[in-house]
Symmetry: C2
Subunit: 195 residues, 2 copies
DNA sequence: GTCTATAGGATGATAGAC
DNA sequence: GTCTATCATCCTATAGAC
């Protein structure tokens, strides 16, 4: 039998997960165009050509990151929906979203970056479908009216924006920024924001 | 005296305006990183090196676009504030924002693209200051509470997102998308959306 | 004031070894 | 399964003519 190589190996699936996780973080930070496959490779600890080899193209990688981000968001919502809680569903889902928003994964930021690329021939349709899927969830599964869903989405987009703009950098110096953040993330302690 | 050149010439200021307007549209469509100085040049009808020559760097051009977009937004708000109207100020400012949102200029989309680049060393601080300036306006000049300002900003970010994602593409085929758009843009007729 | 030509530096993707 | 080497493309920015 052949001896294990000196260089660490993994099963395809595991390495894929690793790269996808790294890619989510990097894409979330720098956006689709702003991210290089080399950055992703370095973050995942593999070589740049290997990243391309695994996913075919940078675009295909991003699309897979998007699909997974959307799936993770919906899974989080459904898990919260299945739980029993004293607070109204709106609040509970909002809190769940806020938690995803401030975690380090870059999940929601990737979605946000996709949302402003509606003009892209391949990414645009996926982004729109994803957005509408969340809207559908809120109405069909969570029982929101369209008005409620719209408001929920609005606050979600604000949270995404505040995290994307790194507003937490101003928390120390600007009292107005502090009030705004407290208002947009009612039950998220300052210490939960990255960096 | 020297005869006028064959190639059309303009005063520096006029050409600057022209390029800045073109740049706003292109940056709004493709984002900061996704835009090439050549695209801007073509849109403005000048050569690529001339665009760089005028503004020094692509980044400097984008920053100037940002400053102008922010100034235009605040000017629109202040103009609406100065006007007398029967509807509540919240609604009037919202309508003004929606109008800016769907016009062809790309103004608000440029801001949105900047908002998700908070990690950028030069663009990040400008984006944060711009966002907070709008928040300040809403509180100090329009008389909103922080809660009201936050809600206003939330719906603004949703409008930006819906335009950026090109949700109007789904208006014909998807009734849910239609309801969502109608809910987010209450008094904007379908025909006002681009394309 | 504006252009053409081009240098110089990434970056996505391919080829092929191990 | 994973790497090294490398190509080809694109893009910002500079040089210099008109």
């Amino acid at each position: 039998m052949s001896s294990p190589a000196v260089i660490p190996r993994m099963k395809s699936e595991d390495r894929r997960e690793l790269v996808l996780t790294a890619a989510t973080a990097v894409f979330g930070q720098n956006g689709y165009v702003g991210t290089t496959t080399d950055q992703v490779a370095k973050a995942a600890g593999v070589s740049q050509p290997y990243v391309v080899r695994m996913f075919g193209t940078k675009q295909a990688l991003f699309l897979e990151v998007l699909e997974r981000a959307l799936a993770a968001l919906l899974a989080t919502f459904r898990s919260e929906l299945a739980r029993s809680g004293t607070e109204p569903l709106k609040v509970r889902l909002g809190t769940a979203y806020a938690a995803l928003s401030v975690d380090q994964t870059g999940l929601l930021l990737c979605l946000m970056h996709a949302f402003v690329l509606g003009g892209d021939r391949e990414i645009g349709p996926v982004a729109r479908r994803g957005f509408l899927e969340v809207n559908d969830f809120l109405i069909d599964e969570a029982g929101f009216t369209q008005d409620e869903a719209t408001q929920f989405l609005a606050y979600g987009m604000l949270m995404n924006t505040l995290v994307g703009i790194h507003m937490q950098n101003e928390l120390g110096s600007n009292p107005r920024a502090q009030e705004l953040m407290f208002c947009a993330f009612p039950d998220t302690p300052e210490t939960d924001f990255p960096k």
